[in-house]
């Protein structure tokens, strides 16, 4: 190496020594010399409270099977302040990372979704895989305004998908709800139960939010560790009265019953060949000694997972709009149906209590009865011969009850209003025409009476003449009501609750789906939902015995209306009693109804099945109920149910 080169190499060395010295000097100045100055700056920061939700409680079935729990969903969010042009580019990049089915357009659509809070970064994609998230974390500079955020969403077990109508769903708190719940510690963007158990037990399921007092710099950025932390508490768990296995039986049977009905010919439409539409239906199973709902199925149903991370407008429209049945409706509590002959439970109780007819007083059923010039017929005008109360229920004699309905009307017409509206009074005693008080959304149905008819006519008709004509309480109003037709409407749950009151000898329970609330950590019961009696219905023991005989005969005796549906049933092991109903609906197929009660597991259960536009009660509803009964009792049950085509009303 030449001397010249040595000199040059040395010059470079000197420069490098100078550079490293400068670094050291600067480091010394920053860390030792100027430490105080920077420390002071670090302290002068504003504080703010940041609130975040703690995990929501889980929901279990009566046996402790998990139904709804929480899981983390990693979402990609985009700042709202981003320039539209930048956003377009960034969303394109994000779509590239995510791949199918995401496109820049879809992400833009999600960004603009009005159901998201305008105050927070918009969620454009949820359930993003770690490999995709890491790309964004690694290259934050290329994704301005893009963040990865952990969302806690509801996780539904397979069993939970069987009962979305009971469980309900959660969603982001709406402005109205926020105004209402502000004092309860809710803030924008919080999750709140919006239907079903999620809403009914909101106070229990929601924990106390975590509150952190943090320092923020003037840019609003959080700086350092929180000054003060209130960790809050996690939500409590809710155990339901529903049994997931029985619920599965109810859902399966209902689905099969509806599928089967849709293959059956609807005779009501004359010569035309048409099958039943069977658009909707419900099954309710209750413990008659406590009012606990042990199964509750509604058709059509929906997937509660649709609501995770917010439901899109299109999905919402699919669930709620259009003329067809509404999947979000719980037809077990919100469906209002003519109960048909299943209502004869009420008429039977009323006609004996008010002395219209004794329980053993015979009546000659000729297949029809002429009242004031109008023929009122049995189904198919079939003459059933001499019947008393028990047999009238077993064979479902309409004329027996028509005449009772007319007798009530005559008393009313004669001025004895109290006795003349005895049928209505007993119906109300059984809980019809009012909410049952269950934790879920429900409808009260209707018990028609002269007052209702007048109010209805006044509200519907314009002219005074039409109002007056339609206000008249005709004999037909009471006669049809006596067999659960006319203007009498009820929900399947009301029907089940009424039969439960009969089966348990008089206690009308407030039905409930919540069993108890437990501490999430220790599974300690914090609050048990106690059976609550709404009222006691007095039954004359001898009359009740005749009615018990009548309902028992409907399933077990050869002449019973549900005999075919219960062919081969081991009545010696499980004495199932029941009542069919076939409600005629103007311009539509008949509503198929069946109500049953039976002893099992040391208690009494009630099962009600109902399918709209599906034909006779014995053909569709009774086989559905039978399957549910077999599963509750623990009898061997065929995997498929048999839909009848010859049953009676």
């Amino acid at each position: 190496m030449s001397d010249n080169s040595r000199v040059r190499v040395s010059i470079v060395g000197v420069v490098i020594v100078a550079l490293f010295s400068a670094l050291l000097a600067r480091l010394w100045f920053l860390q030792i010399g100027a430490e105080e100055e920077f420390k002071i700056e670090a302290v002068s920061r504003a504080t703010r409270i940041v609130q975040s939700e703690t995990p929501r409680g889980s929901i279990y079935d009566r046996n402790g099977l998990p139904l709804v729990e929480n899981r983390a969903s990693w979402a990609i969010t985009v700042d709202r302040a981003l320039e539209p042009e930048t956003r377009r580019v960034v969303l394109g990049q994000v779509a590239e990372i995510l791949g199918e089915p995401y496109t820049a357009e879809l992400l833009e659509e999600n960004f603009n979704d009005v159901r998201q809070s305008p105050l927070k970064p918009a969620i454009v994609a949820a359930d993003v895989a770690p490999t995709q998230r890491v790309v964004i974390l690694e290259n934050t500079e290329d994704y301005p305004g893009v963040h990865v955020e952990k969302l806690t969403v509801r996780n539904y077990s397979p069993e939970a998908l069987l009962m979305p109508h009971v469980l309900g769903y959660v969603g982001e708190i709406s402005e109205e709800q926020l105004a209402e719940h502000r004092d309860d510690g809710y803030v924008e963007g919080d999750t709140i139960g919006r239907a079903g158990v999620e809403r009914a037990y909101e106070a229990e399921l929601r924990g106390e939010p975590r509150r952190e007092q943090v320092e923020v710099d003037p840019r609003g950025q959080i700086v350092g560790t929180p000054i003060d932390v209130d960790p809050g508490t996690v939500g409590n768990d809710v155990y339901l009265t529903l049994d997931a296995n029985w619920q599965r039986a109810a859902v399966d049977a209902l689905q099969q019953g509806i599928d089967g009905a849709r293959l059956q010919r609807n005779d009501n439409v004359g010569e035309r060949f048409e099958t039943f539409r069977a658009p909707a239906g419900a099954v309710v199973a209750m413990d008659a000694s406590t009012g606990e709902v042990v199964a509750m199925a509604s058709f059509p149903t929906y997937d509660p997972r649709t609501f995770i991370d917010g439901i899109s407008q299109v999905e919402w429209a699919l669930l709620t709009e259009g003329a067809g049945p509404k999947p979000l409706l719980n037809y077990a509590t919100q469906g209002e149906y003519l109960p048909g002959s299943s209502f004869k439970l009420v008429t039977a109780t009323a006609l004996t209590r008010y002395g219209i007819r004794g329980h053993s007083q015979p009546y000659q059923d000729r297949g029809f009865v002429e009242i004031r010039g109008t023929d009122y017929e049995n189904a198919g005008r079939r003459a059933l011969g001499q019947v008393a109360l028990a047999r009238a229920l077993t064979v479902s004699s309409d004329t027996y009850f028509y005449t009772a309905g007319f007798a009530f009307w005559e008393r009313w017409k004669g001025g004895d209003v109290e006795s003349g509206l005895g049928l209505q009074a007993v119906a109300r005693e059984f809980g019809f025409g009012e909410n049952t008080g269950i934790e879920l959304d429900e409808r009260a149905g209707r018990v028609p009476d002269p007052d209702w008819k007048r109010d209805f006519a006044t509200s519907v008709y314009e002219s005074e003449r039409a109002q007056q004509e339609n206000s008249i309480w005709y004999p037909a109003d009471n006669i049809l009501m006596a067999i659960g037709q006319g203007d009498m409407i009820a929900s399947p749950l009301q029907l089940a609750n009424a039969y439960a009151a009969f089966a348990n000898d008089g206690t009308l329970w407030k039905p409930h789906v919540g069993r108890d609330v437990r501490d999430a950590e220790h599974e300690r019961v914090l609050r048990a939902v106690a059976p609550e009696s709404l009222r006691t219905i007095e039954f004359d023991p001898a009359t009740r015995q005749q009615m018990l005989n009548g309902f028992a005969g409907a399933t077990a005796s050869d002449s019973g209306t549900a005999a075919a549906a219960f062919a081969g049933f081991p009545f010696d092991q499980v004495p199932v009693s029941g009542k069919t109903g076939t409600a005629q609906v103007k311009d539509k197929g008949d509503t198929s109804v069946f109500a049953a009660y039976f002893p099992a597991n040391g208690t009494q259960y009630v099962v009600v099945a109902l399918v709209e536009e599906a034909g006779r009660g014995a053909n569709v509803a009774a086989p559905i109920a039978r399957h549910v009964i077999e599963v509750i009792v623990g009898l061997p049950s065929a995997a498929t149910i048999t839909i009848g085509d010859s049953g009676q009303d």
Binding site: F20, E35, T140, E141, R219
Partner: protein
């Protein structure tokens, strides 16, 4: 007969008689990349684990990838040591012409990150050809100057400058200002050592200053880039934080973090700025702020000392080199490390503009780590073949 296993005779044989290069490895220089990259791994872990945890990704994600890059880097270093560097001296032109298409290709089909189109996507990994280009240009300029040693006239100087300027232009076109500057500094250093005449050096310096000025004034650069370059000049501490630009904010946060470290630091994994992620790019370009905050002046000064040790060993190799090419290449490598270390730590402490250069062996980023190992391997190569 007695077998001589040790003693003066054996030593003598090793010094002079033994020609195997493996007997002349500079172990201090060999160990430095391991030491610094080990510390880097720890710092990458410390600065990313909280953020990864918060985002539901394995907290070892970055560490694993960086660890893989280090293993690859060690392998590349071994290759760079094994192949006689004098092959590079003879084949510099070949190396050079393979680099140009890579740099051009990345402009056409490369992936864009951090505002620079400088990466090839290879499956889950990215390859940044500009890192290889730094070494390639050092080798090429050194090779050319070695060819015309002692006779670097104006014409040959123009050729040497062109060798450096073409890849610089391509790297600039990728919007990677920092790497272009590194190439310029490396080439400049090689030329100085190669014997550039003072008057030529003055002209070149003027040209370089004019070019930089033109780039800044002409608006070729995006606003944010300009802002990053000039942001360090105006650091008025009186300005309220709300008025700060993003650049000022970055520097301010990094400086705050380092200042918070004090003499002995807040402790490993204890840095609030690092753990809460208020310094952006903390595992890549701003990793020194984690060292400063968590390990304090003791740690920061030690790291600078390690780099100084590295610089000294490289400088020593260039003096010991058996040929002029070895001297030039090692000086280029020395310039590359010294400039990157000074620029990176300097920008973190607010005395240099922000250019997005990684801190060698420390910053998260595979290509840079591998290239750094390769560079040290090249210097070790020169050192261990000084007798052969």
């Amino acid at each position: 007969m007695v077998t001589i296993t040790a003693g003066p005779l054996a030593v003598a044989r090793r010094r002079a008689g033994e020609t195997s290069p493996l007997h002349h490895v500079d172990f201090v220089l060999l160990m430095l990349p391991f030491a610094i990259s080990g510390l880097g791994l720890l710092m990458v872990y410390s600065s990313t684990k909280a953020r990864l945890e918060r985002n539901g990704v394995s907290e070892l994600y970055f560490v694993q990838r960086q660890g893989l890059a280090i293993v690859l880097g060690i392998a590349v270093m071994a290759v760079c040591m094994a192949v006689d560097y004098r092959k590079l001296r003879d084949l510099w032109a070949l190396v050079y012409v393979t680099i140009l298409p890579l740099l051009a290709g990345v402009l056409l089909i490369g992936a864009s990150r951090k505002g620079a189109q400088a990466w090839f996507d290879i499956g889950p990994f990215q390859f940044q050809p500009s890192e290889i280009a730094k070494l390639g240009v050092i080798g090429a300029v050194a090779g050319y100057c070695h060819l015309h040693r002692g006779d670097l006239d104006a014409w040959r100087l123009c050729v040497a400058v062109t060798i450096a300027v073409v890849p610089m232009g391509l790297v600039l076109a990728q919007n990677d200002l920092g790497s272009a500057a590194v190439i310029g500094v490396c080439a400049g250093t090689v030329l100085i050592v190669a014997g550039i005449r003072p008057q030529h050096a003055a002209v070149l310096s003027l040209l370089a200053i004019t070019a930089v000025g033109a780039v800044i004034v002409s608006g070729t650069l995006d606003d944010y880039k300009l802002d990053r370059l000039t942001g360090f000049i105006d650091q008025s501490s009186g300005a309220s934080a709300a008025d700060q630009t993003a650049t000022e904010y970055n520097t301010e946060q990094a400086k705050l973090a380092i200042a918070a470290g004090g003499f002995d630091g807040s402790g490993l994994f204890q840095g609030t700025q690092a753990q809460l992620g208020y310094v952006p790019e903390q595992h890549t370009d701003f990793i020194f702020s984690v060292v400063g905050e968590e390990l304090g002046f003791v740690g920061g000064a030690s790291l600078i000392a390690l780099y100084a040790l590295l610089a000294w060993r490289l400088w020593r190799v260039s003096l010991l080199s058996s040929d002029f090419f070895g001297t030039l290449v090692t000086m280029g490598v020395l310039a590359m490390f010294a400039f990157q270390v000074f620029e990176n730590i300097g920008m973190t402490m607010g005395i240099m503009p922000i250019t997005g250069l990684p801190l060698p062996f420390m910053s998260y980023g595979g290509s840079a780590v591998i290239a750094s190992f390769a560079a040290v391997g090249l210097a070790l190569n020169v050192h261990m073949r000084r007798f052969s």
